[in-house]
């Protein structure tokens, strides 16, 4: 509805531009659904992003650069990216393994395991955070075992890695699982007939088929991990220069009323996710072209 009214408010545009926008259909409700969509996307997505872009342009390039190159901020950037990368590698291995086990084997409790994969999506991150922090604290149920070997998990970067692995675990499993289930067994039969052993078959036949989905899942996971806050802050220790993650920098800058500094860091984080999404899209495009040429 609001789209119809905004069409009237546009100068020089008589009614009908909305119908011209739409190309083919007879179903009613185009105006209404377009109105709701435009209104909600503008208020909830476009306007906030525009405001953020505006705030950072006000500060200018030098202001942005000065904030990003503060030692505390650079340390947090390095830590966040590095820990997310390690968590991504971990989940690429274990996520693919879990997907493989769930598709290929039958065992007792399989459907329960399958259901539990999504737990990190359903469980609030703060709950995961305090639970992990309590378990892995030096006097916690699991932490005390590590303490015997002089390894401290909670309140160190190891804890950050652990929390990131847990909360982003479902991404790769759920990306790989459907591809693996739909993969035709004929490829493997052909490989077996041609004399390849299982390892070679996996490496040369199955893995290339899984790769687009695996990379897609890994990219989504990495983006999520760099922005993760709730589960990490409880276990991270949050010591500046050592165990302070990037989202926490935004929070602490906001608490000091340094709104421009906070938005500079936020813009940087948006750029990271943008680069990740762009990379995924380019890789998918290249891989699909390769498959198409085959």
């Amino acid at each position: 509805m609001s789209a119809t009214s905004s069409s009237a408010s546009k100068p020089g545009n008589k009614k009908g531009w909305l119908t011209r926008l739409r190309q083919r259909n007879v179903l009613p409700g185009f105006g209404l659904s377009m109105g709701i969509t435009v209104f909600s996307l503008s208020l909830l997505v476009v306007l906030p992003f525009a405001m953020m872009a505006y705030t950072t342009t006000q500060m200018g390039w030098t202001g942005f650069w000065e904030t990003i190159t503060q030692p505390q901020v650079t340390a947090a950037i390095k830590l966040s990216l590095w820990m997310s990368f390690l968590a991504m590698l971990t989940n690429m291995v274990f996520g693919t393994l879990v997907a493989w086990v769930l598709v290929r084997y039958e065992f007792w409790g399989k459907s329960l395991i399958n259901a539990l994969v999504d737990l990190p999506f359903a469980l609030p991150t703060a709950v995961t955070g305090i639970s992990l922090a309590t378990l892995y604290a030096p006097n916690g149920l699991i932490g005390q075992w590590f303490a015997k070997f002089d390894i401290q998990v909670a309140f160190t970067p190891i804890g950050i890695w652990l929390a990131l692995v847990v909360v982003s675990f479902p991404f790769i499993v759920r990306a790989v699982q459907p591809v693996l289930a739909e993969l035709s067994v004929e490829f493997e039969e052909a490989a077996a007939v041609l004399g390849a052993n299982r390892l070679t078959t996996f490496r040369k036949v199955i893995l290339p088929e899984l790769l687009p989905a695996l990379l897609m899942g890994a990219g989504m996971m990495f983006a999520r991990a760099t922005g993760e806050y709730g589960s990490v802050i409880f276990i991270a220790g949050n010591i500046p220069m050592q165990s302070e993650i990037l989202p926490l920098i935004i929070i602490s800058k906001l608490e000091q009323f340094d709104i421009q500094g906070a938005s500079a860091v936020a813009l940087f984080m948006l750029l990271i996710s943008f680069v990740i999404l762009l990379t995924i899209n380019i890789m998918q495009w290249k891989l699909s072209r390769r498959v198409g040429a085959r």
Partner: protein, 316 residues
């Protein structure tokens, strides 16, 4: 999208893995899941009940906890209907029409997924904070958004924005609009078509999207944390109070509230499983009907009548 199939890989020589590899893989996968997911989940309930029932109940009926529970329920109660309307509208628009800018709509729809919750919260502080033009103007009208309930609702709406539409779009895409076209041809109005044809077809996916929205709305921490201002007894939701109680070393209260959220997560997973089972059964049924050798002609017709007679009431 299928996430499992009934093919017996282990009886095909080409896809069979040696038993010790199979056992090792299953053991590693199960062990990983137990250590990473199951133990932390059980630890929540263990810590909540460690000091007895009385303390558990007492920390939940504490006024601050009750206020947080109430605010969480209010937030979910407001976010869910708004999200439902937005989700249906966007899915309808994207799947039923060809128009310029469709790609833009789907891209914008996915943006909240790729933004850190903290950045999301910050964007609303910039937009509606007291220093901003809009925020200052609203404040002069006596309406505070940031560090108040409206901000919490806006931030929650942002992070849950894509859930309903993302569940509906693939389904409505595969269903196509032939049933709606038929209803219109038979003289139904737009709204009649929606209530009697579209809604029955999408009800399960819609419900599932709303359950996901609800889980996220009640559990969102990062975005809400930025806009809430943590005013005790006023703007704390359950996850925020978990943090405050935990930082106050009031572990029983933190884990008692967490146990409610964890139970909610388990219910969400359970419903998700039931829905997947229903869909798999439907899928298997349609496969069976489509491939029934003795009814090659009427197979399709049976499937169509069955799905329509089960869903629409014949008023159309």
């Amino acid at each position: 999208m299928q996430i499992s199939n009934s093919y017996d890989y282990q009886s095909n020589a080409a896809t069979k893995d040696t038993p010790w590899i199979r056992r090792t893989f299953i053991a590693i996968a199960v062990l990983f899941m137990v250590v990473m997911l199951v133990i932390p989940l059980l630890a929540v309930f263990y810590e909540a009940f460690k000091n007895g029932w009385q303390l558990y109940i007492a920390s939940l009926v504490d006024p601050e906890a009750l206020q947080a529970i109430k605010l969480t329920l209010i937030t979910a109660g407001i976010v869910l209907p708004i999200n439902m309307v937005m989700g249906i509208a966007i899915a309808w628009l994207v799947t039923r029409y060809q128009f310029k800018g469709k790609q833009l709509v789907t891209t914008l729809l996915d943006l909240p997924f790729s933004v850190s919750p903290v950045v999301a919260g910050l964007m609303f502080v910039l937009l509606f904070g007291l220093n901003s033009t809009i925020g200052g103007w609203l404040e002069s009208m006596g309406f505070q958004v940031i560090y108040a309930v409206p901000g919490i609702i806006l931030a929650t709406l942002f992070v849950t924005f894509p859930f309903v539409a993302r569940e509906l779009i693939p389904l409505m895409q595969t269903q196509g609009d032939s049933e709606e076209q038929a209803a219109l041809t038979l003289g139904a109005t737009g709204w009649q078509t929606f209530w009697h044809v579209t809604l029955p077809n999408i009800k399960w996916a819609l419900l599932y999207g709303l359950i996901l929205t609800n889980a996220r709305a009640m559990g969102e921490f990062g975005a809400v944390s930025v806009v809430s201002g943590h005013i005790r007894g006023e703007t704390n939701t359950m996850p925020l109070l978990v943090e405050i109680a935990y930082n106050d070393y009031n572990f029983t209260a933190a884990f008692a509230l967490s146990s409610i959220l964890a139970a909610l997560a388990l219910v969400t997973l359970l419903i998700q499983q039931v829905m997947t089972k229903i869909q798999e059964r439907k899928f298997a049924k349609s496969e069976r009907l489509a491939s029934a050798p003795e009814l090659p002609v009427s197979a399709n017709a049976t499937a169509v009548t069955e799905s329509t007679s089960a869903d629409s009431t014949g008023k159309v």
